[in-house]
Symmetry: C2
Subunit: 333 residues, 2 copies
DNA sequence: GTGAAAGCGCTAACAT
DNA sequence: ATGTTAGCGCTTTCAC
């Protein structure tokens, strides 16, 4: 059996409440007994059960991080950001993966209403409506903060990046480098980030008078194999396309593979810029120009916001925008 | 206030124990009342508090995954493997990052004795002794399974890969391709995996009569900036080196950067093979030959083993070895 | 088949 | 300053 507060009390012949108060550093306990208790506890290696107290004060010191996936440099770095502040606040991080499956995401959120964690940090998967009833409902019961991929229609705190502007800038960059026929590889148009990036793309085409050809928006799917074929077809059949915006990392990788197969030389024949946090971007062949999201900072900011809410209950809904940065490399030279 | 079992009992004018039993599908409850209770519960959206029961039966349905880092393709993929089985078993995954800091790792393990999670899956950080007292102690109190980076001296279940053999094979591969002066970039020699990989390296040099020159083992540090300088010096000063084994992904990336700076052409002047799970390995310049660990499977296997222990208490200590595979690419052609 | 009551480990009134 | 007691939400004997 584990050692409990009650056992300590018995061993020391004092009341459990005294022991409890000693641990909570209550001022109504004499320094002397406090010391005695702490020392004894340390000697028997006492570690409080975190969930016993949680029953009363409903604080587990756990937070849930809900993500589409983890094997992705954006998400893994945002976990780093979240963890960096969780550690300092004494919180524990639970990770939930939705694998871009709305049904799975909903069931995770439903479960999270149980009180398993005190708050939620979420980046919604594609297919989740911008006013998802489940997300709205859950956020009413437990502090929930969206980051990166948000439900725009729900009035909850959000931490996002300037997708519209950075997409606009990426397109302008391609145009300045000489591209005139630019394609946008859209991953799941329902996602907030993709909508924004697509809007920035269209606005740039318009502003620079390149003409927005709807055919230049390639609607990709969730399936890697399908996308590969899709992209192969697209690039084979549209050889006037001389610039491409990959709206997510995966699509950039696939574009590289496809171009290699098709002997399309980047950037000579096709310039590529991708929304990506890949550490290896500079080592690719050719080095990849990226729009890089402040993943770590977004995670850190979202976590800070959540702990602010958790610690003093006052929930001022806010929307924070952290800028992405364009790293110019050889794929657009 | 949240809806509880007690409220349901009151609303339905029955005893709490009856409600509890209904949820646990007890046979001593009539189908009729069971139905009534379940329906009512669903209608009011009842979700049991997971930690209330945990006080009695000490089962939280949480497992802790302790890792050196998460922004690494091996670890993120092993999380995927772990999650894939946790989901089917109804377990929740808590992620702890040690950042290769033994002190941090020990404090995490200490905390984990609190009962916050039912079991632990851990890949130890460098600097942790192979017979770490803390790890040994914790594993006596709570099911703990090592994966990949283990404490060899502790008698606990482990899931590893064939580091010695795959390292040996990687060296042989370099030799067959023509390399005669092979260096080993060692990341933290204390780590179990590095020791094994180093041993495989030395054995191969011996077997093929290439002569093991201790100077060819570069002891790298945890610090990226330091390593960059270290490697730059090494490659500048040792231009007879014509093959290199990067014992971890990071060191491969740094070698690529260094070679680019030094105008060392891979593989003409230097062949490179790296222990790595990088998805982009094939897209690098040049495509990188890798020894790839079965990350997903290792996570999945470790999790299955843990749930086995958790579910029927019988703990037969075992050591499972899953093979890595060598992907030959242009960096060693 | 259903209910009453004790108790899991802890906190927080409320005494003393 | 210290002790008593009543829960938190649930499970689990043990009665009925």
């Amino acid at each position: 059996m584990n050692i409990t507060i009650r056992k300590i009390a018995k061993d020391l012949r004092i009341a459990v409440s005294t022991v409890s108060k000693a641990f909570n550093d209550s001022h109504e306990i004499s320094e002397e007994t406090k010391q005695k208790i702490l020392e004894y506890a340390a000697s028997v290696n006492y570690i409080p059960n975190p969930y016993a107290g949680s029953l009363k004060n409903r604080k587990t010191k756990n937070i849930a991080v809900v993500l589409p996936e983890v094997a992705d440099s954006f998400f893994s770095n945002s976990i780093n950001g979240i963890e960096s502040v969780a550690v300092t606040k004494g919180y524990h991080v639970m990770v939930y993966l939705t694998h871009e499956n709305p049904a799975r995401e909903n069931s995770i959120l439903r479960e999270l209403r149980s009180g398993r964690a005190d708050g939620i940090l979420i980046s919604v998967s594609t297919g989740i409506a911008m006013d998802s009833a489940m997300h709205a409902e859950v956020s009413k019961h437990i502090p929930l903060i969206f980051f990166d991929r948000v439900c725009e229609g729900i009035d909850s705190t959000k931490v996002i990046t300037d997708d519209f502007e950075s997409s606009y800038n990426a397109v302008r960059h391609l145009i300045l480098k000489g591209s005139r026929n630019i394609a946008f590889l859209a991953f799941a148009e329902e996602a907030s980030i993709i909508r924004q990036r697509l809007a920035g793309f269209r606005k740039a085409l318009l502003d620079f008078g390149i003409g927005s050809d709807e055919n230049n928006v390639v609607k990709c799917s969730q399936n890697d194999a399908e996308n590969f074929i899709l992209l192969k077809n697209f690039f084979s059949c549209n050889n006037k396309v001389d610039g491409v915006i990959a709206s997510v990392e995966k699509l950039a990788m696939q574009s590289y593979s496809v171009c290699r197969d098709l002997n399309i030389v980047i950037p000579d024949k096709l310039r590529v810029v991708a929304f990506s946090n890949l550490l290896t971007a500079a080592l690719l062949n050719p080095p990849l120009t990226t729009v890089t999201q402040p993943a770590f900072e977004m995670g850190r900011t979202a976590a800070n916001l959540l702990f602010g809410i958790l610690e003093n209950k006052k929930h001022k809904v806010e929307s924070i925008v952290l800028p992405s940065v364009l790293y110019e490399r050889d794929s657009t030279s």
